[in-house]
């Protein structure tokens, strides 16, 4: 009888920081596909999964927007898998009629060919006023002139149409051929749109606690035969919406509950032990009632809901440890013998390494090696046993002498 519990991996490639892999147009999706083969549950975010008109649905992948991922990592929210979400579209009033129709047709195509449930749309009552900025670090950020208009539109979709997920299409400023755009199309530099996209989706997820993702609307740019394959997915047409709809259609819903925090506290304080198995196992913890009636009634103890205490591994670019999700997950994994994996060759504009924050990480050169580290862990093999040098077992006594 096989008693191994589910293995859960979080794959993070922060957006807008020029990641060599994942900093362009869906170019971390091959990593996600490969990692999904060595873990039972892969939790990742739109920047990894979205490739404009390219996407790859995976049964064991959970598409979690960045703000939701931060809340999940902090133990505030759980992830409840769904069969499908009804999706509502928020359309920026600033979009020209032709661009608007292109996006409606993309949504109609997703309904007709993929069978997705795109059930309503709302045009914002004011232009959203997206402004793009680059910070001193080189990361892209952005702000909105009218965030309340965005939230009013989302609220109407939720209250009047009952949608379970929101796709936002905002009119982004056209780039008339800046050096930054040229670099991006060549697979270099930073995605100048990404930071503002994250602000838009974060606002909705923070306010309504439902899945959200964003597709920018831009005027088509002239053909450039020399663009990088890493950026090519965004050159295919008029819209980046298809991947967003595909992701949102199965994105897990968020479960917010004090019970979720209690589950995490059990683990933090050691009462949950190393067995960070399914929530079922925590139901035997003090304060958690293992009652099937309550289980059904209370989403926080629904065994289908995933909590951060169940994560076994997090994979992060080696220089991008300064984000909330990894900063919350890493101490948990360090204490419980899970894996924090730092990928060296996925360079970014950041310079925050695990050691800078007191995080113990397994340093690997590439995602290939990261996948090997997870496979070894699943096999019960310490990753150090796969290296040629085997050091003596350190003595704790020496530390005190």
């Amino acid at each position: 009888m096989h008693l191994k519990r589910s293995h859960t991996t979080v794959l993070i490639v922060p957006t807008g920081i020029g990641a060599a892999i994942g900093g362009y147009a869906g170019d971390a999706l091959p990593v996600a596909r490969a990692v999904a083969q060595v873990t039972d549950r892969l939790i990742t975010h739109p920047n990894v999964m979205n490739g404009a008109q390219m996407y790859w649905p995976m049964e064991n992948a959970y598409y979690v927007e960045g703000y939701g991922l931060d809340q999940f990592a902090a133990g505030h929210w759980g992830l409840k898998p769904v069969h499908q979400n009804a999706i509502g579209l928020v359309i920026d009033q600033a979009m020209e009629a032709e661009l608007r129709w292109r996006h409606f047709q993309a949504a109609d195509a997703a309904r007709a060919t993929l069978g997705l449930n795109v059930s309503a749309h709302v045009v914002t009552d004011m232009p959203l006023g997206v402004t793009l900025k680059t910070a001193d670090s080189g990361a892209s950020w952005g702000t909105l002139e009218n965030p309340d208009s965005l939230l009013r539109a989302a609220e109407r979709l939720i209250t009047e149409a009952g949608v379970g997920a929101i796709a936002v299409i905002a009119r982004f400023p056209d780039d008339e051929g800046s050096a930054a755009l040229q670099a991006y199309r060549q697979g270099e530099g930073v995605d100048g749109l990404a930071g503002a996209e994250a602000v838009i989706s974060h606002l909705i997820v923070r306010t309504f606690e439902i899945p959200c993702a964003h597709a920018p609307a831009l005027a088509p740019i002239p053909l450039d035969p020399s663009i990088s394959p890493r950026s090519a997915a965004e050159e295919l047409g008029y819209t980046f919406l298809p991947c967003v709809l595909a992701g949102l259609s199965r994105a897990p819903q968020f479960v917010s509950s004090k019970l979720g925090a209690d589950l995490l506290t059990d683990v933090h304080t050691g009462t949950g032990g190393r067995d960070r198995g399914d929530v079922h196992s925590h139901q035997a913890s003090p304060g958690i009632v293992a009652d099937s009636t309550i289980s059904q009634a209370h989403p926080a103890v629904d065994p289908a809901v995933i909590w951060s205490a169940q994560v076994d591994a997090v994979i992060v670019p080696a220089t991008a440890f300064g984000g909330s999700a990894v900063m919350n997950l890493a101490p948990l994994l360090n204490r419980q013998g899970g894996q924090v994996i730092a990928v060296g060759d996925n360079s970014t504009t950041m310079s925050v390494r695990a050691a800078d924050l007191g995080i113990r990480a397994i340093s690997v050169g590439s995602y290939l090696e990261a996948i090997g580290a997870i496979a070894a862990y699943q096999a019960g093999v310490t990753h150090t046993a796969l290296r040629p040098e085997t050091h003596l077992i350190p003595s704790l006594d020496k530390c005190h002498s």
């Binding site: 001193d136 702000t143 974060h202 923070r206 909330s324 890493a330 948990l332 950041m350 925050v352 800078d356």
Partner: protein
């Protein structure tokens, strides 16, 4: 509501009373999850934190540079 880009520095070594339980036993630096709370607390001076990241760490001064977007009510 407005959104605003913020840049600030925080110490890696501050140990506010409210975070004492999360500080590494016997060590001065804040554990990274406690540092998250500390950063969000510092950002609350400017508005409600929406998105933030430490972008660099100065090991000599033990200070972290943070970039963030916060929301403010009009």
């Amino acid at each position: 509501m407005r959104t605003q880009l913020i840049a600030m520095e925080v110490s890696l070594q501050e140990t506010p009373d409210q975070l004492h339980k999360a500080v590494c036993k016997g060590s001065i630096p804040l554990r990274s999850d406690a540092l998250c709370l500390h950063i969000e607390d510092e950002l609350s001076v400017y508005g409600v934190p929406l998105r933030w990241a430490i972008t660099s760490v100065d090991q000599a001064t033990q200070r972290a540079h943070v970039e963030a977007v916060v929301t403010l009510l009009d």
